[in-house]
Symmetry: D2
Subunit: 345 residues, 4 copies
């Protein structure tokens, strides 16, 4: 399997390089950047010195499409759509890590992203790659839209509850927290070390562009969900997302029945791990891995269920899930090249 | 005003030393510790070398009570009650920083603290010192029970809404986050640097002992509150608490009406600052100060109000608020000795 | 004493605001910025909301000079000189926090700063304000050049040894480490949180512009010093500098004789604290304070003395020392407004 | 290849599990702990849940020795020797990660470790596994003593200079910095998060037990070295060591000749990477990998060479180098199972 990565100098792109470098069935054929073409990749990423002896190339779509089996577009929203709409005209598979093909409703995209949407047909063709919740055979898919980091953690934590309709669908409150790598590689005042270290910030209050993505899927599962409260915080750490979720139980539930439901739902999903009773995951427990770890409990006092879902935003929230999807698109075991343990501590 | 501090080697106690050291009307007469008596305080706290030339003394209640005007008990829950019940027999004012006199219901205390409660009469005599919400004249009070760190942030953020009854009292969800100094000075696996750095943990899920404290006050304001959902996270930072709160609006509100309500409520309260529209506080913006900064917004989509309240847990959440209360107990301006700015960055 | 601060939106400037706000003899008359004039200061620094109710003004030198007794120029090197050369024509005292008046030799300045030097006469008039090592009466000084952060830590740690000539002057090796606030407030790739968190970087190897400043003073104390090895590292923390220094002993020394020498040298200097035998300071022990804490030892095996000197780079390394100098320039006790304890933890 | 790991609940042991889990030629047969026998490993390390489905076993030396090909003793100094001296009586290879077999001189061990030394004959039999500097064929070795974390970074950075005798052997000054995982997994006041976060500490000044280890090897390379100055700092990060080294040049050197020497020395060593001119490594650039990255320069002003060597202390400084040594002991390519990239950011 030959691979091209467009946007290799962002954090999502460099993480793709990291994990594909040790993938037994894949070969990184070329890496591309709009700004640093001609430079060796280790200029941007000294940690790759000697190990990845490649030069960043320009983005020549026909050339790329002819040379490889699959292209990862790890480019910003608004940039991806221009590239992908071109790539779709070639016989090549595409995995897009931006938000451009996640929102089916173009108006909604415009409203939340403040950008022009991608081509309508391609948006409809795109399959939303929340792997564990998919029944589609991905081998027939040309364009896979890789889920956002927050939606991945949130949706995997809510799927069993909504699909079994044991919660009040209008009661969903999601308080999410992220490491700062989620802000990308460009230096900015919000992520300036002295401003972010030893600090905790809330941002984009009620306005994060992942809200419509989350709501779109939740409403597919239960059309009564409507809207959710979803807020995001920046935590002084590099990687990791934790979503703490509060929902009202409508059916009778117990600690055990809840846990059984989650274990049953994910029994064939290597990358979703349900913590035992009384134990909740910390973000570090999935660091640099493709796991989504979930802890949960039922509070009799308030009749609310609390679900805690953690992922590594760069991995399961981006590059890791993208490679998991790639595996399925090419008929491989989804775990191929992804079974390494989290880095701890 | 002569002062004794019992428990001076904990973080609350050492912070009392820091701020009383520059208080224009107070003199630290003596500092006490059950374990390090006879040692100079800079053995425990080298940052005080030469500046605080004092020795830790043993805890001789009659001697202390005779020598000073006010005693701060910055001791753990369960330890404070033993000391305070003795101190109450003397003519001395007491400000207790533990949880021992906060919960009026002894059974509730037992249930959440798993410890024997303090003397019933003293619990009833104790005034809960959430200064900004108090109408009591503190000059007549002998025993002041200083609020918990989380309750301070939470209650100041909810008071205007509950007191004006513009929210559904059963809809309150509080997602709180704290710096690790809240765990105290004793080394423990949860706060071991390699386990906590670059990590985010949820702890005491639905079981934090500040829950009954919060519920007690909220129900005083509106008896229909009943229970609340309250969860706490450890963030890899030293100081700071952020409470992100979600409540359902029951009356018609707007961004402006909400902000006006908060500004009006706290118009005479120097230490509560309401951020302008669209701006939310980060924890660092109150670092090492006595401020409680609040941002808020109304989300039309979900009909929920989001309130973000931040404090420094060691200051407004402990020593700072205690000194603010002391000022009032002695007829001083509440700001005396506390007007220094946050340390930023 | 009326004060103007130019460059109030940088970290040095905002720290001046913080400490002058609680200075009993000083009044901040106006704060100035070249880029944000007309804006309230809390737009840049929300932590000042309501507490510092001032607006940033433009930089009108004659107007400023007429209105105040002293001007702090907390502006970048190269910018300060243009302002200060103008200010010198007025009857106003000036404390410059940049590097523009520290290096007496204009050619040397050019070589290390890659900028045009300030006016020759003003450079010569400027007094280098390493307060503890100064014999000049600062009351007669118009222009005070405030020392760099690294030089402050380094020079206070070496002064007793060089002045008593008990070390080999050509053996000095200084390995310095700094918090990231030293890089200033502008966002940059080197200080981007995900790049700097959980990381340690060396920078400007053998090329830091503080080298000629350090060497200039060391050679005043002992002309045989010539050059020193001086390197700097960025540590993932906000504030603090530690200089670890290695020098060869030439006279017979002991642990005790060394410590006695340092204690004697600094016996009248409130802000320099010498740790007892076997104890070394950490940077946090001077956090947000004006102290310089020093630990030292003699290693018989290698015949080398190790000196560890720590300061808060924004305080003793910038704003704190500047105010200490201001106090002396106006005949006040050097400690006025600066006796607050470090913030710990 | 069947493997047993003794001491699997420490950081070195759990890192062995992490990398051996993805080693193509090795199988973890059993993991052992003196305190948690009978417990599933994910009780200690939730990040291994479901992925490592093993139970900690007690330490039964004959049983272990019979079952496996190689035993890793990732146990503390003083504990390892008791186990290894027993293991040596069986036909099994041993890789010891403690300091017990590194110091050839038993008296020196006693002096620096304050513990009883291991059996004399076994100490002599043990091969010091600084792989890149070894000429021994490791296939014949029964007991391999894995180098300390600091010595690995230091020795790889000094080897080319000393072996070619281009520096003054008595001029070596090493200023080392480490992440806090080096302090091990047991909670302690020095590594308590609120005491270590946003802080920088120097520790064991002139007294670190790695000093005799470093000096032993340096003196093998050049007997005139004698002693070195070596100091260690704790940096608020989890992983990583940086050694900044200062040595006096005695032969004529240039930037280029120096770099050529290092590149030539390590031309066959995949895990040692020499940065290009003007570029120096940060610790994060080797995070969670087995690389040792080196930057260096010559300062004409001072005639000193500065070498900056970084490793991940848990990997190249412990588990990674141990597996590299294991590969060689079993005739495999040293890179087997270790070619994964650093985790960045």
């Amino acid at each position: 399997m030959n691979i091209a990565i467009i946007g290799a100098t962002g954090y999502g792109g460099s993480e793709l390089v990291r994990i594909l470098h040790q993938h037994p069935e894949a070969t990184i054929h070329s890496i591309h950047s709009s700004s640093q073409q001609g430079e060796p990749v280790y200029n941007s990423y000294p940690h790759m010195q000697d190990a990845i002896d490649m030069t960043l190339e320009d983005i020549d779509i026909p050339k790329i499409a002819n040379a490889v089996d699959v292209v990862f577009t790890a480019t910003p929203s608004g940039v991806s759509s221009a590239l992908v709409d071109q790539l779709m005209e070639h016989d090549v598979k595409i995995i897009d890590l931006s938000g451009d093909y996640r929102i089916k409703d173009q108006e909604l995209y415009k409203e939340w992203y403040k950008k022009e949407p991608a081509n309508h047909d391609n948006i409809q063709k795109a399959v939303y790659g929340l792997t564990e919740c998919l029944e589609t055979n991905l081998q027939d898919v040309q364009l896979l839209s890789n889920p956002g980091c927050y939606p991945t953690a949130v949706l995997l934590g809510l799927a069993p509850l909504l699909q079994k309709q044991i919660i009040n669908p209008t009661s969903i409150i999601i308080d999410a927290k992220s490491g700062v790598s989620g802000a990308g590689r460009n230096a900015s005042p919000i992520a300036h070390f002295p401003e972010m270290n030893d600090n905790l910030k809330i941002y984009k209050v009620n306005a994060h562009q992942h809200i419509p993505e989350i709501e779109q899927i939740l409403n597919q599962w239960d059309a009564q969900v409507g809207t959710v409260s979803f807020n995001t915080h920046l935590v002084p750490m590099t990687r990791g997302i934790m979503a703490t979720m509060y929902v009202e139980a409508t059916k009778e539930v117990t600690e055990d029945s809840l846990r059984d439901l989650f274990k049953e739902t994910y029994k064939d999903d290597y990358f979703v791990r349900i913590r035992p009773k009384g134990v909740f995951p910390s973000t570090r427990e999935v660091y640099a891995s493709n796991f989504c770890d979930i802890g949960l409990t039922y509070d009799e006092r308030t009749n609310r269920i609390v679900i805690v879902s953690v992922i590594d935003n760069v991995m399961k929230g981006a590059a890791g899930q993208a490679v998991q999807n790639m595996n399925k698109m090419f008929g491989l075991d989804e775990k191929t090249g992804l079974t390494f343990l989290p880095v701890y501590p």
